[in-house]
Symmetry: C2
Subunit: 304 residues, 2 copies
């Protein structure tokens, strides 16, 4: 099971966090961007080269501290197909460094189209007589608005390839309640989505008690996080919203079970852009990122 | 406004349909795939070359008959970054042939991440001193589960670049009701999503009465389609589920307003794979696709 491997990595590093890799050009140190533009001109290729070099530096600095990375697809697609190539390179490099890779694409569709997404991000595709892994991450974020038809193709690949998914349940943004908090006959929309996660995961529960179907639940809603931890005992949580979006260590304490497991907390900008903070002035971006990642690890450990 | 241009193209060709470009290798004639593998080996590049050649043939055959194409991102991502390059080439080629391009990515996220998707698929990105359009379609399908935070970044780019979005409201798949049909205090989840579409579109209504915020409503739910047409007077519909998924011309009649406008009906496999049908045996794939597209146009015209 995918989350078994993730939990083992978390236990080994004593660090239930994941570093988001959302590399906009504005976040990348000027010397990296300038060199890329010198080599490739003002092109998407230049942006992609800068993205990958930045990510490689972050991964090198973080791989002994943080068990997982979460590249956000949007920031790679922003730079066209060369950006998407940088995403594939980033995933491959992180896996080489033994990090668990959560591809944050929030994909959603039905039937054979969802099968295509599942094969692209978690499985393999056949070209003539051989099978190729197009992106090769270990987990994918998905949106369950379309119901079981949109999730079933993923479950098959999760079982075959030992991969996992995270379904959006209660997102970290201010307006997440517009739809997600609305009351149904039996609880809210997000509670219903959580129940669906438990149902979809039923057949894949691992020795830690967690299934291959996780949930995204925002750090910015600590009460709902605690409540969902109780109600969804087999659903592993990916928790965004820590740091830049306002969630702190105390806010995420409720995401964990009695063994201190059951969740991985994401931070993107606070780690990636640590070098821009006054506290790290003049420091190399990778060293600053490692320092912030250690501080976040220690803050979260303290509330477990 | 994006949908003004789409409606004008529909009026000109008297054809409210869109051809889905979902090119799995299995859908592509063997001689195209074989040549690509001869040129590039059993690689993702070979698949991508076959995809683009197939699409180019379809676009050449369809551009005088069908006003729009809808490439489905999943089938390009399935072939890794070379596949995504074929997506960018396909979009550029369709625009060159004066077709309206709906990129079917069902993207969803919040804040600066959604801005990145919006810039990638509908806008531009700055690299040094220049601005580049990473993909360049004219409309994007999106998922509104995250609420206004996930839609607002799109609205700004839609206004600036005269583009449009289609929000998933009632999808065509059998299990779409699991969440979408559940009852809220005031109607169902999908009705609430429809109301949000009207609200998000309010500031962008064009001379045909339609806003830049459209909705995806499946042909497989004709009653809901008719009901939503009444309730969402400013929301242009993208209607999947015609043909292979079981929807027919009578099922989609209710998607149109009293002027025969307000919707565009998608067909993917029935057009792309027409050459595999007995009726078109021995015929070139592009000619077969054109024949199926004309038959679909005539069938839908007959119910308007």
């Amino acid at each position: 099971m995918a989350f078994t491997r993730l939990i083992e990595k978390i236990d080994r590093l004593q660090n239930p966090t994941v570093a988001g890799l959302d590399p906009k050009l504005e976040y990348i140190p000027a010397h990296i961007v300038h060199k890329a533009v010198r080599d490739h001109g003002e092109t998407l290729e230049a942006a992609a080269a800068a993205l990958f070099q930045f990510n490689r530096g972050l991964i090198d600095a973080l791989c002994g501290i943080v068990p997982a990375v979460k590249p956000q697809c949007a920031y790679y697609e922003l730079y066209g197909w060369p950006g998407v190539r940088a995403l594939a390179q980033t995933i491959a490099y992180a896996k080489e460094k033994d990090m668990f890779v959560i591809t944050d694409g929030k994909r959603n569709d039905i039937g054979s189209t969802m099968e295509a997404y599942a094969a692209a991000y978690l499985g393999k595709v056949a070209i003539g007589g051989i099978e190729i892994s197009p992106f090769g991450g270990e987990a994918l974020t998905v949106n369950g608005y379309l119901g079981t038809d949109g999730i079933k193709p993923l479950l098959e690949i999760c079982r075959k390839e030992e991969k996992g998914i995270f379904v959006l349940v209660k997102t970290s943004n201010p307006s997440s309640g517009e739809l997600q908090d609305q009351a149904l006959a039996n609880g809210t929309v997000y509670e219903e989505m959580g129940r669906l996660c438990e149902r979809w995961g039923k057949a894949s529960i691992d020795r830690f008690g967690y299934s291959a179907v996780g949930a995204v639940v925002g750090a910015t809603y600590p009460e709902q996080l605690t409540e969902l931890r109780q109600k969804l005992p087999h659903t592993f949580f990916l928790v965004p919203g820590y740091g830049a979006q306002g969630g702190g260590a105390k806010d995420v304490a409720g995401a964990f079970d009695e063994n201190g497991r059951g969740a991985v907390i994401n931070s993107s900008r606070a780690i990636m852009c640590a070098y821009q903070k006054e506290a790290w002035a003049g420091e190399d971006f990778a060293k600053a990122a490692a320092g912030e990642a250690e501080a976040m690890r220690d803050a979260i450990r303290a509330v477990l």
